[in-house]
């Protein structure tokens, strides 16, 4: 599987076929998820309609963490196997992950204002997500600050692997420290502490976010490959 996609033109061919379907699926999932989340699911008995922020906030948070793990994995693949597309994938995924993190922070503070009474609280979860955002920014800045792009990719891959230490800290910060942010209610060992009427729209939205990530990632990788091609054509023309 990994070796199969080592050939960029094979990858591009597959992307061309997949992309239209992915776009349609993403839009479908978003429409269904938003409809279920905003109109179909009940309001919370404590938080009222504010709880609907959850349908954006939680999936974005999951994707922000997952995307960082993805970047680190791709970084490891590019360092160990010198896989040509892995480095590109990591580079293309970083801005997407950073925007998921921004979405988490903005929706979180919109949610925090009515419930906690403050836009921002220096609580363990919030601070560690902010650190995750800075890790993303460092990754992006590092991968673009060398004349030789492959050196940028390698340096940022090492940074991603080192920064991976932060992921468990973010994930478990609400369990380890007693904080204002509520502990995990879905990813725990016993049954999820959330009613199916809220869980189902949440899962649909999570799938929508995931599909969105894949779609945008493929588009970004495609455009990276194209710009590389343009660069090499330019060099040929000069010669």
């Amino acid at each position: 599987m990994i070796n199969y996609f080592a050939n960029p033109s094979r990858f591009l061919k597959m992307t061309e076929k997949l992309l239209p379907w992915l776009v349609r699926l993403t839009i479908l999932f978003f429409i269904v998820g938003i409809y279920f989340g905003l109109f179909y699911s009940p309001a919370d008995y404590q938080q009222g309609d504010t709880v609907r922020i959850m349908y954006v906030h939680v999936p974005a948070a999951w994707m922000a963490l997952a995307c960082y793990v993805f970047i680190a994995t791709m970084g490891a693949l590019s360092l160990v196997y010198k896989h040509p597309l892995a480095g590109l994938a990591a580079k293309s995924a970083a801005p997407i992950g950073a925007s998921f993190t921004i979405i988490v922070i903005i929706t979180g503070s919109l949610w925090g204002k009515p419930i906690w009474g403050a836009w921002w609280v220096w609580d363990a979860r919030l601070s560690s997500v902010l650190v995750l955002f800075f890790l993303y920014l460092g990754h992006i800045a590092l991968s673009y600050s060398f004349e030789n792009p492959s050196r940028g990719n390698k340096a940022s891959a090492i940074l991603a692997l080192v920064g991976l230490v932060n992921i468990p800290i973010i994930k478990f910060s609400v369990d380890w420290w007693n904080t204002l942010h509520q502990p995990a209610s879905i990813t725990r060992f016993d049954a999820p502490a959330i009613d199916p009427s809220m869980l189902i729209p949440l899962i649909i939205m999570a799938l929508a976010f995931f599909l969105y990530f894949i779609t945008v990632l493929l588009v970004r990788i495609k455009s990276e490959l194209t710009s590389q091609k343009i660069k090499s054509l330019n060099i040929k023309m000069i010669k």
Binding site: G138, F146, A155, L159
Partner: protein
């Protein structure tokens, strides 16, 4: 071993020459602390409360100051390539660089920490935990810092890029380091926090030099 010693002695000698890096870092430390007092105001009780955190933040910034020049001179005059060609592994070179950075910066931070504590009117009970936590914490800062310096070596804007990369990685040291001081200040036990710091030191010293060596190899190629 011999090789390690030679690299360290060379670097320390260079750092102490003329208007030395070490001297300027010391001035920076005091200056930064003074700035905090200007901005917060001369409220003794408040200064005492923030003092423990300020010491650590200033220590972090001071270690970053001298990092930019850690590899750049060796990189530009070709010394780094000679190290690369020598039969000794670059990992030893990375370790030597981290040690020499610690000797010229970390040690200075440790020595000046009690002085800053006096400036902030911190109680005398915290001096021992402060110095202990600095002794364990500053080598971690040097190790991560060498990695950051190696990663950004040859980058177009390494001066602004490096803090952006390193500071998020410094966060765990900052959290546990200042917790040690606050726990000591309010009479709680701080042994477990020191253990956590030691654990962090062991992990970073096991992994950082290898990552640094790998990053250096990328920079040379």
């Amino acid at each position: 071993m011999n090789y390690l010693g030679l690299v360290i002695i060379k670097d320390v000698k260079l750092a102490l020459q003329g208007v030395s890096d070490t001297g300027m870092t010391f001035v920076f430390l005091l200056l930064a602390c003074t700035l905090f007092q200007f901005s917060i105001g001369p409220d003794q009780a408040l200064l005492m409360k923030v003092g423990g955190g300020v010491i650590w933040v200033v220590a972090l910034l001071a270690t970053i100051l001298s990092l930019e020049r850690l590899f750049i001179t060796d990189f530009e005059d070709g010394t780094l390539e000679q190290y690369f060609l020598s039969p000794v592994s670059l990992v030893f070179f990375a370790i030597a660089k981290a040690i020499s950075h610690w000797l010229t910066t970390g040690l200075l931070v440790i020595i000046s920490a009690p002085l800053i504590a006096v400036l902030y009117n911190l109680p005398s009970e915290i001096f021992l935990p402060l110095v202990l936590s600095m002794f364990i914490g500053t080598p971690i800062l040097s190790l991560i810092g060498t990695l950051g310096a190696a990663l950004t070596l040859g980058a177009s804007r390494s001066g602004v890029l490096m803090p952006l990369i390193i500071l998020p990685l410094y966060v765990p040291v900052l959290i546990f380091g200042s917790l040690v001081i606050y726990n000591a200040m309010y009479g709680h036990s701080y042994n477990s926090l020191l253990m956590v710091l030691i654990g962090l030191l062991l992990i970073t010293s096991a992994l950082a030099p290898w990552a640094t060596a790998y990053a250096l190899r990328q920079a040379i190629e």
